[in-house]
């Protein structure tokens, strides 16, 4: 624009542009508060570049005066949380396993920490609330294959079941059918007898025949009364709880093919104090036995 044009009504200079033949815009200065805020923002931005990581460089980025990084902040927070937890873990390590449940200050930590560790490591098989499923025991009930005392639970978690660990719990149900120990009709009779132990037999005659087969083949582990043996991981057959299902077909299959579920050992994956906390947590789910 060669010449300043002044609006006649207001006496203010215009920008010189004309829209739609007659519309002109007044060339008003920016509001001062806005302008100063803008300048302040520029000053702030320069300070920000100096203090915080800001500009990419060829090999990395400007680190800022304090070397701040969000990743570093997280690491610090995690370290602080670990430091806070340390006193509880020390206390868990120092408290006998049986006494942890009675410790009012420790229990909230055990229940929260146990739930977190359980969720990370155990829930894929046992379920979020340790409710179990076919082949994976429910840890909320009062029926324990290998013992429900805190120590027994700790032992199971530490070494696992048929896990390959030298101290793992090893016993397993033989393959009576597949290995030719029992004939199919004998297996059916034995299954009827097992059902009769909890009062669910459908064929009394078969159950009677099965009693002998049971006495000859099953009592070493399950006991003469069928109540099982936690030393050997042999389940109680007289109750209402069935790990692999309590229908005749399920029991026939169990006798036919045997059972030998695996629980991994957690030594080396979880530290002993965490395992101790986990044992206390699992025991608290059901009150154990």
């Amino acid at each position: 624009m060669s010449q300043k044009e002044v609006d006649q009504v207001t006496g203010v200079e215009t920008t010189g542009h004309v829209w739609d033949g007659d519309l002109k815009e007044l060339n008003k200065p920016l509001p001062r508060w806005w302008l100063y805020t803008f300048y302040a923002c520029i000053v702030w931005a320069i300070g920000y570049w100096a203090v915080y990581p800001a500009w990419p460089t060829l090999t990395g980025y400007t680190k800022g005066y304090f070397g701040y990084s969000q990743r570093g902040e997280v690491a610090k927070e995690v370290a602080a949380a670990k430091a806070d937890q340390a006193k509880y873990f020390d206390q868990i390590a120092a408290t006998p396993l049986d006494d942890i449940e009675k410790n009012q200050e420790l229990m909230p930590f055990v229940m929260a920490g146990g739930a977190a560790v359980f969720g990370d490591n155990c829930s894929p098989c046992h379920g979020k609330g340790a409710q179990g499923g076919p082949g994976y025991p429910n840890l909320n009930d009062d029926d324990w294959l290998w013992g429900g005392t805190p120590e027994a639970i700790q032992q199971t978690i530490t070494h696992g079941i048929r896990s390959g660990d030298p101290e793992a719990r090893e016993m397993q149900m033989p393959r009576f059918g597949l290995d030719g120990i029992l004939k199919p009709n004998q297996i059916k009779d034995a299954a009827q007898y097992v059902l009769s132990l909890s009062g669910h037999a459908t064929d009394e005659a078969a159950a009677k025949r099965g009693a002998t087969i049971f006495a000859d083949n099953c009592t070493p582990c399950h006991g003469e009364d069928g109540k099982g043996n936690q030393e050997l991981g042999a389940p109680n057959l007289t109750d209402n709880i069935w790990l692999y299902g309590g229908k005749e077909a399920d029991i026939v299959k169990t006798i036919q093919t045997g059972r030998g579920g695996v629980m991994p050992y957690w030594t080396g994956r979880l530290d002993p104090v965490t395992i101790k906390m986990l044992a206390a947590y699992v025991h608290a789910l059901s009150g154990g036995k």
């Binding site: 229940m111 979020k128 340790a130 009062d142 029926d143 909890s198 209402n240 709880i241 069935w242 059901s286």
Partner: protein, 510 residues
């Protein structure tokens, strides 16, 4: 027909410029925030309020001392609550989610008491506004009080109105620089003290004061100290009347709050007009009492002319009443040319009549009634406040557990919150669930005593078992029952609803 002549027409203009009446200066002041100027979108013109003398100024000094005193001193009052709790009388303990007001203690989940208090405050504001206009704005609003304080500081360093105007107009001499610097440093000091007092409400005041001195206070304390320093300095020192005119919503709302019976600061135009300078020996007949000295405009912190009538900008601080009364005394006319008056009475008075003051009218009755109702509800709620809270969470997974002997078990987390400042012992039982057995993890099997230490929450893992022979009594898949928490000290019982879950059908044995 006689035209009422304006006094300005009677007295020559030349005389008017110098004196409004013998010995009374006609102040050269413009009402910079008046309605006419509002429309011209001008840049802000600074208001230089002149110091007023009189009853209302004294009242305002008193209100300033009391409100600022309360604000600055309140956090330092101590209140013994026992060993485990803070001993600050007024403490908003956000870290522990607790508010302390002397004997009153509010937990996070009881914040509705604060809501009630805010509703009560709002209604109180409505009532006061209906009766006497913007009393809040004029006397007690922090913006008014701090602006007043900042003006005191400004006057101390730079002198009163005329001196300040001269100083602002003068070039940047050494005198101007040090006076301005001293003013701003003093403002910042006031602002820091204000922000400092604010953070003391949120953390033990003596501790925090020590931390400030050592420089190891929590970062958030510095942040809020900074925010409140900045806002006090900017709003009280710099922005002042702009806050009330442009930032505050209340001036817009107030017009719905007062009516023709509200006592508002009013210029009695029927008495004052026609206005104009008054000469010695001149009769007061046929003219108004207003000598147009503009003393009322000069003292106004909002930069308005009250003689224009009630306006949005007026915070009703009453300083113009003081200014005008002083002038009326000097010209020996009755006081009260500017006074608290109602529209009703102003209207009547202009017809040589009087309208009585109506304090009790539907509007005030309504506000008072609603306030009484809210206050009653709050009192009722306060006296029925529980000092024991129970929460029951049913295990999500599994919903129920089949036991080896055919019974069913449900797991719960029972949380007991003891709000008393003493240890309490409880016993937990159930009612409404036939034959149910209850076990609490970590506690002895028989009638366990549950100790909950003072002011604390205890979460218990509780197992409820219904034996096989009682299963038939269950009402389908979910049976309602109640947990009973008995306080062993006084035997008082608290009930909490819960549900016992069972399989949909008769449990099938698979």
């Amino acid at each position: 027909m006689t035209m009422i002549k304006r006094a300005a027409d009677i007295v020559p203009e030349t005389a008017a410029a110098a004196e409004a009446a013998p010995g009374i200066e006609r102040i050269d002041v413009t009402a910079v925030a008046s309605k006419q100027r509002r429309e011209s979108y001008e840049a802000r013109q600074k208001v230089y309020p002149k110091l007023a003398h009189g009853t209302f100024r004294k009242v305002k000094w008193g209100v300033m001392v009391i409100t600022l005193g309360v604000y600055y001193l309140l956090p330092w009052i101590r209140w013994d609550r026992g060993p485990s709790l803070p001993d600050q009388a007024f403490l908003l303990d956000f870290a522990n989610q607790r508010l302390f007001f002397g004997p009153i203690e509010i937990w996070a989940q009881e914040l509705y008491y604060i809501t009630g208090l805010l509703i009560l405050s709002a209604l109180g504001l409505f009532l006061v506004t209906a009766v006497a206009g913007r009393m809040w704005c004029g006397y007690t609003c922090p913006q008014t009080v701090w602006t007043d304080l900042m003006i005191v500081v400004e006057r101390f360093w730079q002198g009163d109105r005329n001196a300040r105007i001269r100083l602002d107009a003068s070039p940047w001499t050494f005198e101007k620089i040090w006076k301005k610097t001293a003013t701003h440093i003093s403002w910042l000091a006031v602002a820091v003290a204000t922000g400092g007092a604010f953070v003391f409400y949120f953390r033990d005041a003596p501790t925090l004061a020590g931390e400030f001195l050592n420089g190891d206070a929590p970062a958030i304390a510095y942040v809020f100290l900074g925010i409140f320093t900045a806002t006090t300095y900017l709003l009280g020192g710099i922005a002042r009347e702009q806050v009330c005119i442009y930032m505050c919503p209340w001036p817009r709302i107030q017009s719905a709050m007062f009516d023709k019976d509200s006592l508002l600061i009013s210029y009695r135009g029927y008495r004052g007009e026609p206005r104009g300078p008054h000469k010695k020996g001149q009769t007061w007949e046929g003219r108004g009492d207003c000598i147009d000295c503009k003393a009322c405009v000069a003292v106004c912190p909002m930069g308005i002319d009250i003689r224009d009538g009630v306006q949005l900008e007026c915070i009703q601080c009453a300083l113009c009443i003081d200014a005008c009364n002083g002038i009326m005394d000097r010209v020996e006319r009755p006081r009260g040319l500017i006074a608290y008056d109602t529209f009703q009475n102003l209207d009547a008075a202009s017809h040589h009549d009087r309208a009585p003051l109506r304090l009790i009218r539907p509007r005030t009755i309504l506000y008072s009634t609603v306030m009484a109702i809210v206050a009653a509800i709050m009192l009722w709620a306060w006296f029925n406040r529980t000092v024991l809270e129970i929460n029951v969470l049913h295990d999500r997974q599994p919903l129920y557990v089949q036991l080896s002997h055919g019974g069913l078990r449900n797991g719960y987390t029972v949380k007991i919150l003891n709000k008393l400042h003493q240890k309490r012992t409880f016993q937990l039982s159930t009612t409404g669930l036939e034959g149910a057995k209850l076990a609490i993890i970590g506690l002895e099997a028989k009638n366990p005593k549950i100790d909950v230490v003072t002011d604390n929450l205890r979460a218990l893992k509780v197992l409820v078992t219904v034996p096989k022979k009682e299963l038939d009594d269950l009402k389908g898949s979910s049976t309602p029952f109640q947990f009973v928490i008995t306080d062993l000290a006084d035997g008082s019982r608290t009930y909490h609803d819960a549900t016992f879950m069972a399989p949909n059908n008769e449990p099938n044995h698979d």
